[in-house]
Symmetry: C2
Subunit: 307 residues, 2 copies
């Protein structure tokens, strides 16, 4: 079975309540507060979940509490969207404790995050069959500093028609051509670390795979790509959209690894599309049909990301 | 099906020919030569395989050539043992190109390595059903510098009765008790990176899991342990034997992660047993029945590691 487009959440309107969760690592206080101010400036009402500001070493509180917040946020009908405050590490530890049945009852809801949150994007795709947004998180420095990054997320949430066609100003063609498929993916090492778990999708045929990462040396990028490949995730892909590789070592070495591991797939591949740990960073919908033009550097979604 | 003891290779005698392969990263020339001298001092004849000194970035030559060397070394009846010169990264890239059928025809042969070579230990266990040696590699600085490390490998290869019971001088009890099982494992991140591939063993019930690593921050150790756990590798384990965690960050943070992820398993767990990226480093047979005494800090093998 190949990847099918997933259910779309409704778009946001001013006055909407938006839950803030911390499924992974804790956010520094000032960044957390600054992020909330931005959401308020959009006319949203941020609802900070009970454990969103918890801290326990590299985790934002216990697995149970992080999972409870995530479940409660999604299950609350008065909440229009769930936004992860930050990535870091830890989402994979709490996934098993999320009450997925309650999320299924509610169905699609706008969900924003990236990096470690990749694990939750995959889990929501598999368990809730809902599309999500690979986008900047309010406690992230780039969210505070880059107006372009904020505005692209805002438009995606409120006026998704305006950003239905993503035009990358930085994209480079690795393998040319056009391909239509369903977007999925996110942070490479998180995708690799999900293999073998209950939330790993075995068959991603027809997918447009998004990949980016930060702080991974070239041999680690090679290792994660090799694992995805040996686990069958490169079979039947429609295309590959590469984001940023911040702090991953010399650019030419990173590009050599990407070119060697992905250039052989025989499908369109575009580099430096402009999402992930970069500034500015595009918001990219996951789980929706889109056409990649690897020559032009565009990703054109068949429908607006939110209803 | 639970883990069964694997076939034992024959022990070495002076005059034996020993193949040197580089399945992963290239070795620096001087270390490579010094390692060969040690093997010669044991009365062995090192046979440097054609591509063992190749170099291509972080790989010791092409995947095809590294796999060909490994296959040829094992398939040659005049070769008594196969020794990896160094780890680094790359064994997972060449596993699919090894001609496993030829190795199966030959059967067990002494095979030494660790770190990235963990991927080959797992593959040999699954494909050849042969026990192997998690031991120091000749190009590794500790092999050159630590007489104790060299001598323990030498005894294991030539006089395995003398080291049938491993007594760790550094071991600490994390969870007390005794457990009998079949040893397996190695470097944590390599085991995690093997999940989902054709060489990943689904069922490790009854196993005594060895784990160690180097250069992995605590959150990365947590991530890899979480992946193993969520992929089912912690189900039915007999016990856990932890080695060194060199350059993995503050010791108390590493120990906190290990204690939290492994202390809950309800089986004996011993820390700092003294194998892996440490000096001195024990040689530990993989794929053989042993009894772990987590209170005494001993690992007693039912039979000598080599026939």
């Amino acid at each position: 079975m190949s990847l099918e487009p997933l259910g779309r959440p409704r778009r946001l309107v001013p006055g909407d309540r938006v839950a803030i969760v911390s499924p992974a690592s804790p956010s520094p206080g000032p960044a957390f507060d600054a992020g909330l101010e931005v959401l308020r400036s959009w006319g949203l009402e941020p609802v900070v979940m009970p454990h969103a500001a918890d801290e326990d070493g590299f985790l934002a509180g216990s697995d149970r509490d992080r999972a409870a917040d995530f479940t409660a946020a999604w299950a609350d009908p008065s909440i229009a969207a769930v936004v992860a405050a930050r990535g870091g590490y830890g989402a994979q530890r709490m996934i098993d404790q999320v009450r997925w049945g309650r999320l299924q009852e509610i169905g699609p809801k706008a969900f924003v995050g990236f990096s470690d949150v990749t694990a939750l994007h995959e889990a929501v795709a598999l368990r809730v069959e809902a599309s999500t947004l690979h986008g900047p998180m309010p406690s992230w420095s780039t969210f505070i500093e880059s107006a372009e990054t904020r505005e692209h997320l805002r438009q995606t949430l409120f006026e998704p028609e305006r950003v239905q066609k993503l035009v990358s100003p930085t994209a480079r063609t690795l393998v040319g051509g056009k391909a239509t498929g369903v977007t999925f993916g996110g942070t490479l090492t998180l995708l690799a670390a999900g293999i073998g778990t209950a939330e790993h999708r075995q068959d991603v045929e027809g997918g447009l795979l998004l990949l980016e990462d930060t702080g991974e040396e070239p041999y680690r990028i090679d290792r994660a790509l090799t694992q995805l490949r040996r686990a069958g995730w490169f079979e039947g892909l429609a295309g590959v959209v590469l984001g940023s590789w911040a702090d991953c070592g010399p650019e030419e070495e990173v590009r050599a690894v990407l070119g060697e591991r992905l250039g052989m797939l025989g499908v369109p591949v575009v580099e430096d599309f402009g999402f992930g740990h970069c500034s500015p960073a595009l918001t990219v919908p996951l789980g929706l049909e889109a056409t990649l033009d690897a020559d032009e550097g565009t990703l054109h979604f068949a429908e607006p990301a939110l209803r």
